[in-house]
Amino acid sequence: MANGWLTDTLILLPLGGAIFVALAPLPRLAAGLVALVVSLFEIAFWGGALSAFDFSSSQVQLQDRVTWFGELGISYHVGFAGFALWLVGMSTIVMTAAIAYAVWVGRDHARAYFASMLLLTTALVGVFAAQDYLLFYVFWEAMLIPLYVLVGVWGGPGRLRATLMFFIYTMAGSLLMLASIIVLGISHHSFDMTTPSSIDNSDWIFLGFIAAFVVKAPIFPFHGWLPDAYREAPAEIAGVLSGAVSKAAAYGFLYVAILHFPGPTRDFRTPILVLAAIGLIYGSLLAFRAPDVRGVVAYSSLAQLGLITFGLFATNVAGFNGAVLQMVNHGLISAAMFMLAGLVELRTGTGRFDRLGGMARGRPALATVLMTLGIIALAVPGSGAFAGEFLILTGVFTSGWGWSVVGAIAIVLAAMYMLRLISAVLHRSKGSAVPEGARDLRLPELGLLLPLVALLIFLSAWPAAITDHTFGQTDATPGLERVR
């Protein structure tokens, strides 16, 4: 249980910050700055966790355990697997950027807003850290509560419908997961995820978990909530949804479904791969046809999650590594893209392509950032996304070359929709909604976007930073050998 306090701090620090921000009578800016400082400290503690982590081991580390209700064998048991730590890092960075964005843009009811954001950080980190099924469920549901408010209060005009859809879809999935957890835990007399008894081969329990994950990710055809939620949410919340929250679902696929249910994973691999493939192609096509910036990013998110699911259900080390790398890449890209879309909307009042265009002229910073992001997102060779997608395709190739072909087609489509987005915003003639005096990205805006871009460039230069530090000595990865 060495260094368990780091995990506890990562979970409790934002919670404490949330309570402080909610209760202290701070003015708007101060509340935002407190939240920002708390989330920067969160990143620092994540750095501490990174340095304390032994990546050569595949064990769950930085563990801590406190009995919660002992008679059913439920405890507050937290810790990180190697790949989870990267997702925590990506999530905290995305959350920090989102908070910075909100400070810059200025949100009404600031204390409620920033408290919700910090609460969401706690829930996200908790999902990646939980080593007890019920605790996992608690954090999973806890994500929903702040998200419901964040979209419902600060969202666009159609927010009520969007929150309702989002809520009904995700709760339907979550409740099935709860049923699975009850059945699993009560019949095994333990809810712990690190003991051998946490492994199960029941198809029904597996499907209950999968139901929650496919909705949250989302995987085709469970994406009904996605377009509304991503369009109506405030830009930074859409970024958090598609960047960080969807990765909680992908993490669930990997850590809960695949590693704990080897038998059902083998049985249901093909159907899940088929759905992922459909989502991949369908999402890409929709992204290509989407009439606005957010639509493109939203549907590309559907496609990317399909690709990540591809990698995960390849159920081999290459696929896993590629998927984890791509989760981090996509998290950073889509958060940055949504915030960029938000900044464009701030300037022009719309994200619709038919009224945008020509924004590159006289706005070099905007053009450069969008170009760089777009280029990385479409997985140009040399980019981190290329490394991730390549590994995913390699992984899935071992299951059948057909899957790789689908993946490769999707990558071509990604190039199409990304280039369309770039040219529709930056190039062509000046759009009707673009005012003459629309400003370039300003310094604070660059300050929150550039770190994300820099991280992406860093991962392009050294993708092995993640892929070599995920599963330890790969052959010893818990559960992995059972799948193969």
């Binding site: 209700f69 409620a112 419902g152 009904i168 835990g185 009560i186």
Partner: protein, 497 residues
């Protein structure tokens, strides 16, 4: 002459202390109603009754501590055990919070009587949960029911209050009559009125599945179903909850339901263990019916009190599940569930009461809009209560539901778990609909100024609501100590500790 022949049973005053404290307070309030100047009555009676609930709470805590082994006292009329003590704690906690919520209740007259009846009703409930024979059961049931009939109708200023009282009286009276008839049938079949004697007689005289006994059991269940407002015996609930004074509604939702459910658990497990095959199925069906009726009914409501009334029907369904499971896990699941449930009920009706006093009219989904921003504390309180009712994490409602579902699964009734999950999914729509109304909709032309001017600071109400919130949230984090209390309490029914 008579005194010499009558054998008086030894009286355990300690076991009676919570009920006697409340009765005493009731008497003091009635005296205050005639002997003190009108402007002091509200304050005196509220303090006296609040103090009595607190005192009864403390007595119950001692009783819990000092009664590790259940024993029948006062000639087998009541039993002194931890189950009764724990339920008393819940009732008195709810009562204390309700006194806080009632502090600024708008009654032109009869304020002291209101508090007197509240204390008397509490005393009756406390007595009922310790009942161990059918006579005591009926007496205590009528004792608190009659208090509640009057209380529902006490606020003649509110439209529908008299109607509520009358409706409750008629339907409740019918329920009591059915229960009494059922008791008579059971007595006729077994020749016994004591709960455990009934079980012994059933075993020794070979009366298992005897038609009189079963008919009596069914009728008793119906009578208790009326009190617990479980479907299909729920018809009175929405109207009565809507018409009754709001602080009282909170008390009824919390304490009446707790009393009826705990008594159901006690009666069924001690008096009718041989008929478990029958009553588990019967309760499961009633639970499903309550879930269906409560949830579907709540979907259509625009009046917040009516919505909460339907929600309380569906909550009764959820709490019947662990009783229906009929296992050790179920016993403690019910008791655990009751703790946050009672707190959330009082708190949510407390928020409604506060809003009602601001607006001077019934609270609907439309005119509650904006509450979250105007009254941040009340908004958060309502938010937490709705989360709790919906069974989402960070509230004890989650743990309660989890335990209840686990109990059903432990019995092997996965179908019941699925029904309950579907019901939970439906319930999210209206619970979160209220949150949506409170935070996300613009107030529809109704500001806080509707009642005129700045609303009074309701310190007592806010303290009571805060206390309830603390219980709701703390019961999520401190499950282990609470469940230990529940386990020891359920052990009085013979469940393995």
């Amino acid at each position: 002459m008579l005194g010499a022949t009558l054998q008086r049973p030894p009286i355990d005053w300690f076991a009676l202390s919570p009920a006697l404290t409340l009765l005493g307070a009731s008497g003091v309030c009635l005296l205050a109603a005639v002997l003190t100047p009108a402007r002091w009555r509200r304050r005196i009676s509220a303090w006296v009754v609040g103090g009595a609930f607190a005192g009864a709470f403390i007595f119950a805590a001692f009783l819990y501590d000092r009664s590790p082994h259940p024993e029948q006292v006062i000639g087998g009329a009541i039993v002194r055990d931890r189950l009764g003590a724990l339920t008393t704690l819940i009732i008195c906690g709810a009562g204390l919070a309700s006194v806080g919520v009632s502090w600024r209740i708008r009654l032109r007259a009869h304020v002291a009587e209101y508090y007197a009846l509240l204390a008397a009703a509490g005393g009756g409930m406390v007595f009922l949960v310790t009942a161990t024979n059918l006579i005591t059961l009926f007496l205590a049931l009528e004792w608190f029911s009659i208090c509640l009939y009057v209380l529902c109708a006490i606020d003649v200023e509110v439209e529908g209050s008299l109607e509520a009282g009358l409706k409750y009286l008629v339907v409740g009276g019918f329920g009591s009559a059915v229960l009494l008839f059922g008791s008579a049938l059971v007595y006729g079949a077994t020749g016994e009125v004591g709960f455990s004697q009934i079980a012994q007689a059933t075993a020794s005289q070979g009366l298992v599945h005897d038609s009189f006994l079963v008919a009596g059991l069914a009728m008793i269940l119906v009578g208790l179903g009326f009190k617990a407002s479980a479907a299909p015996f729920h018809m009175w609930t929405p109207d009565v909850y809507e018409g009754a004074p709001t602080p009282l509604t909170g008390f009824m939702a919390a304490a009446t339901k707790a009393t009826a459910l705990v008594l159901t658990l006690r009666l069924l497990t001690t008096a009718f263990p041989q008929e478990a095959q029958l009553w588990t199925i019967a309760l499961a069906v009633i639970a499903c019916a309550s879930l269906a009726v409560g949830n579907l009914g709540a979907l259509l409501q625009r009046n917040v009190k009516r919505m909460l009334a339907y929600s309380s029907i569906s909550q009764a369904g959820f709490m019947l599940i662990p009783i229906a499971a009929g296992n050790a896990l179920g016993g403690r699941a019910l008791l655990f569930y009751l703790i946050p449930y009672a707190a959330m009920s009082v708190a949510s009706f407390g928020v409604v009461a506060a809003r009602e006093r601001e607006l001077g009219q019934a609270v609907t989904f439309e005119n509650i809009a904006g509450l979250g921003w105007e009254r941040p504390f009340l908004g958060v309180a309502l938010w937490v209560c709705m989360l709790g009712f919906a069974g989402l994490p960070l509230t004890g409602g989650f743990v309660g539901k989890f335990y209840a579902f686990s109990a059903a699964y432990d019995r092997g009734w996965i179908w019941l778990v699925i029904v309950a999950l579907v019901a939970t999914a439906v319930s999210l729509y209206y619970y979160f609909g209220l949150v949506r109304a409170v935070y996300m909709r613009a107030p529809a032309g109704v500001g806080i100024a509707a009642a005129g001017g700045q609303p009074p600071r309701e310190l007592a109400l806010q303290t009571a609501v805060l206390g309830c919130l603390v219980v709701t949230v703390a019961s999520f984090f401190f499950v282990d100590p609470l469940i230990r209390l529940c386990r020891m309490a359920a052990a009085s029914l013979g469940y393995p500790y």
